[in-house]
Assembly symmetry: C2
């Protein structure tokens, strides 16, 4: 039997698992609830128990696996295999994840942060088409990202490479949770889209259902903004245009800098699909020089929820090939 | 005897050569004039003759060399070792550089574009301190750059990685030779600095020697702008501040994206030294998030004219290690 990979996507609500071939085909997948009680001390034991249970359920052995990869929130120390500051897991203190999982499963383990791991997934089996240069941007509650360049996942000197959410797109703009102003995240995350809508609604005088909903104090979401825009609400279209301007500027500049074969946009906000992508594309074209404009593609993510487990398996495969 | 490297820096005026150790120490260096007559057809033969002459002069043999690296203007095909569109060499048609040089010297040859090669030089033996993640920006007639990430020189899908001169820093700003607007090059190259000065002088009403020189139709250079600013000309200080704002925005965003250990600024405009660097640093701090601000350094280039030959030797060393 060909050796297999295990991919884990550790999230605040669920922990997703998959067993994959070295070609990236998902053979088994399952998930368990994340138990973040007691400072998250049950999480690693739960992961171990779930893996060992499934391995025996499928009548497999530890020797059947090349390695386990995992994407996690928080700050990671890749070499040591530790995580700290993953607040949605209640992991405020440093967690020795790698040592515990390797000891209890007998399988080599590697981890990285969740956005980087999702980037590896979209690059391997999704929109990135396994090209050596792919940039991934995820528009969710925040804006994260990951960069693969010349086949390598980038980390930078302090692990911050790929933090495209904190690229300054609007100097002097909205204040960000990071402490500076005008970050991409402030205008293109799910909350950012709504922030832009609220801000622009103060100036907008015309007829608009979106403006009315905001003025009425309704609980407007990013999805509402895009839904109104797709229904041709003039104000909502202005809001979407503004969001796509900032996205196009950021996507354009990361492309001017790295010239990837594709910039892949994922996350909840990207559910707006081609409606969003085509508008980002227009500004991308305005903000890139010809040689980049004609070689770098702006794409939508393709793997959805599976990007995490697939990317985690890719991480394990890459890492074990290097050692 | 330990094997040596040959580095070549091919420019429009001179061709610089050096023989280096594998530690990057320059043991011999020399240069010849670039003869770009007859569509530049003498250039490659001149390079070959010069190398073979020096090798015999130093009583060395082709076996004493690991390889030859070269930085060149124009568009390069790294695999084929060809160059096209190097207009300052009159190389409008494709030149088969690699084949000719390897056949005539018997030494393996590799080339890359000059900004990438200078980046390798500054990374190896200059301000980059041989770290795996270094970004280099050169402020000359144009603005070029090169990126080393996880130890690899980046190229991107179409060879445009590192073209930081065409990052959009001023949407709707000055038109660039590339066809789009607001490129870093339009406001921070030698001509860009003067462009900013001329543009701002139209609005400036106060007393200023720089403004007077511009209004008198004098031939003001980028160096003049910095000289006036260092002499505390109020208008020149405003111009320098504007230039450093754009540089700080671009350097900040490439750092938010890649988190290199350093962004190294070189080229003619960087002759303004710490006066320039400290002002770029201030805006860099405004435009980066804390984890990047505290880990990425903004530095001045250290190798000057030697960056090209040293980087070319680094290119040869890296390339030959891979094959």
């Amino acid at each position: 039997m060909d050796k297999k990979l295990i991919g884990i996507d550790l999230g605040g609500t669920t922990i997703k698992f998959a067993i994959l071939t070295t070609d990236g085909d998902v053979q088994q997948k399952w998930s368990i609830e994340t138990n973040s009680l007691d400072e998250g001390r049950h999480i690693v034991p739960d992961i171990i128990e779930s893996i060992n249970h499934r391995i025996s359920l499928y009548e497999m052995k530890q020797e059947d696996f090349i390695g386990i990869g995992m994407g996690t929130p928080g700050s990671v120390d890749i070499k040591k295999g530790t995580v700290v500051g993953a607040y949605n897991l209640n992991w405020t203190k440093k967690q020795n994840v790698k040592i515990q999982i390797e000891e209890a499963t007998g399988i080599p383990f590697v981890l990285d942060n969740d956005a980087n791991v999702a980037a590896l997934g979209e690059r391997w089996k999704g929109a990135g088409e396994n090209n050596p240069d792919v940039v991934f941007i995820t528009l969710g509650t925040g804006v994260g990202g990951g960069i693969i360049a010349e086949g390598n996942l980038l980390h930078g000197v302090n692990g911050c490479a790929g933090e495209i959410g904190h690229v300054t797109v609007d100097p002097g703009g909205f204040e960000c949770t990071c402490g500076k102003r005008g970050c991409l995240e402030t205008v293109s995350s799910a909350t950012g889209v709504v922030r832009v809508a609220r801000h622009m609604s103060e100036e907008y005088a015309g007829d608009s259902q979106l403006k009315q909903a905001i003025d009425d104090g309704q609980d407007v979401s990013s999805k509402d903004v895009f839904d109104y825009a797709q229904a041709e609400d003039a104000f909502a279209l202005m809001v979407v245009d503004r969001v796509c301007y900032f996205l196009g500027l950021a996507v354009g500049n990361v492309s001017n800098t790295l010239n990837p074969s594709s910039v892949v946009i994922g996350g909840g906000v990207s559910a707006a699909g081609e409606f969003l992508r085509s508008r980002v594309q227009n500004y991308f074209e305005e903000f890139t020089f010809p040689e980049v404009r004609n070689s770098t593609q702006v794409k939508l993510a393709q793997l959805g929820n599976e990007a995490g487990v697939i990317g985690a398996a890719s991480l394990a495969l890459q890492f074990m090939e290097k050692v």
